[in-house]
């Protein structure tokens, strides 16, 4: 193994974004549309750099949900990346597409609005996220620890696919460092 490659694989095993990327790959999730978030920057950059993935920005989060839903029905697995405020735009599409059609929609949500939030609007919109997920009885996990990330993400993806049910994986600032005022 070349030195650079070795360094790269060590990086992927020890960073949260590296673990997410490898977990997506291991579960054959190739299509990753996203609406960006500062916290997701490195993950998005690494997804673009890896030819295994088809990754691209969409104008709205529900558009990305439509894309991965269509792709899944045609045989390609996908996941959507977004931040908390983006999740807040999804109630209609979750209730009218992902849940009733039993589509294993996999969402990674970078959590804004808590643990040091500096924008009151973000703090408020964050409070709508879990009630929406709970009201639709959707599976969701908040990931706070690096040592639990792979287990939760890998098992949740497999559960979504086998039970044909959507899942939201919320990436806590405890895991990612979050976005702070001075950044």
């Amino acid at each position: 193994m070349a030195a650079a490659e070795q360094a790269s694989s060590q990086k992927t095993a020890t960073t949260w974004h590296g673990i997410v990327l490898q977990t997506l790959k291991r579960n054959e999730i190739k299509l990753v549309p996203y609406v960006p978030d500062r916290v997701l920057t490195t993950l998005i950059k690494d997804l673009h750099a890896d030819p295994y993935f088809t990754t691209f920005p969409t104008a709205r989060e529900e558009e990305a949900v439509g894309i991965v839903s269509g792709a899944w029905m045609a045989g390609t697995r996908g996941a959507v990346l977004m931040q908390t405020s983006g999740f807040a735009t999804l109630a209609n599409v979750l209730a009218s597409l992902a849940v009733p059609y039993q589509i294993p929609l996999i969402m990674f949500v970078s959590e804004r609005g808590t643990l040091g939030e500096f924008n009151y609007g973000q703090a408020l919109v964050c409070r709508t996220m879990r009630p929406v997920l709970d009201s639709l009885a959707m599976e969701h996990h908040t990931i706070t620890r690096l040592d639990e990330l792979e287990f939760i993400a890998d098992r949740s993806i497999k559960q979504a696919v086998t039970t044909q049910a959507p899942v939201a994986l919320i990436l806590s600032p405890l895991l990612t460092g979050g976005k702070t005022f001075d950044k």
Binding site: T58, G66, A71, T76
Partner: protein, 200 residues
């Protein structure tokens, strides 16, 4: 009915155009948007390669994009209303960027929300949706002048080097049939039609 002056196109009928499209199909996928576009698709004769939305207004083109990316060898058609497309204009930019050449989009434009009581859309009489598609980067975007032109544009889209969008002016008639609203069956049969799953 829309009254954009710049357009000298015939006012056609959604069900008639849908029948013309479906009559020429073999294994192509067709995504019907909410309401009348999928009611008329259903009424034109159910086929397992059809997907019918029961909500998620504006997502017919994004869903079709996902199918087109997953199966680049299969032609994918999407039928969307003008009001629905207005909900999700940004998807035209995404589609222009990804540029799947196996995607043909049809916009059924009557300038009204027919199903909710025929109220005019905010675009009625002022916004040219084909011009919006062109400006979004979808070079193969045209209004169909009449039924023959619609069929010609559908055929032409199959040879196009990128995605195509066809605008059709339609009348204010409601949908012809009513889709059976069983989302799991719709999805399961569509997956069977796409060749990714056997029926139980």
């Amino acid at each position: 009915m829309t009254s954009t002056r710049a357009r000298n196109t015939k006012v056609m009928n959604r069900f008639d155009l849908t029948q013309r499209l479906v009559a020429g199909l073999k294994d192509e996928a067709v995504i019907g948007g909410i309401g009348n576009t999928n009611f008329d698709l259903w009424a034109a004769g159910h086929r397992p390669e059809n997907f019918y939305m029961l909500g998620s207004m504006g997502l017919a083109f994004p869903i079709a994009l996902g199918v087109a990316l997953a199966q680049p060898k299969r032609r994918v058609f999407a039928l969307e209303g003008d009001g629905s497309l207005l909900m999700q204009l940004g998807c035209l930019s995404t589609i222009a960027t990804l540029a799947p050449k196996n995607l043909t989009m049809v916009v059924m434009d009557n300038g009204i929300y027919q199903i909710t009581g025929a109220q005019p859309t905010p675009a009625a009489g002022h916004t040219d949706l084909v011009a919006v598609a062109l400006a979004s980067g979808i070079a193969n975007s045209s209004w169909a002048a009449d039924e023959d032109d619609f069929e010609r544009l559908i055929a032409q889209s199959k040879q196009a080097p990128g995605p195509s969008l066809i605008g059709v002016r339609i009348d204010d008639k409601p949908g012809t049939g009513t889709t059976r609203r069983d989302p799991v069956q719709i999805r399961e049969r569509f997956m069977h039609g796409m060749g990714v799953r056997q029926l139980l």
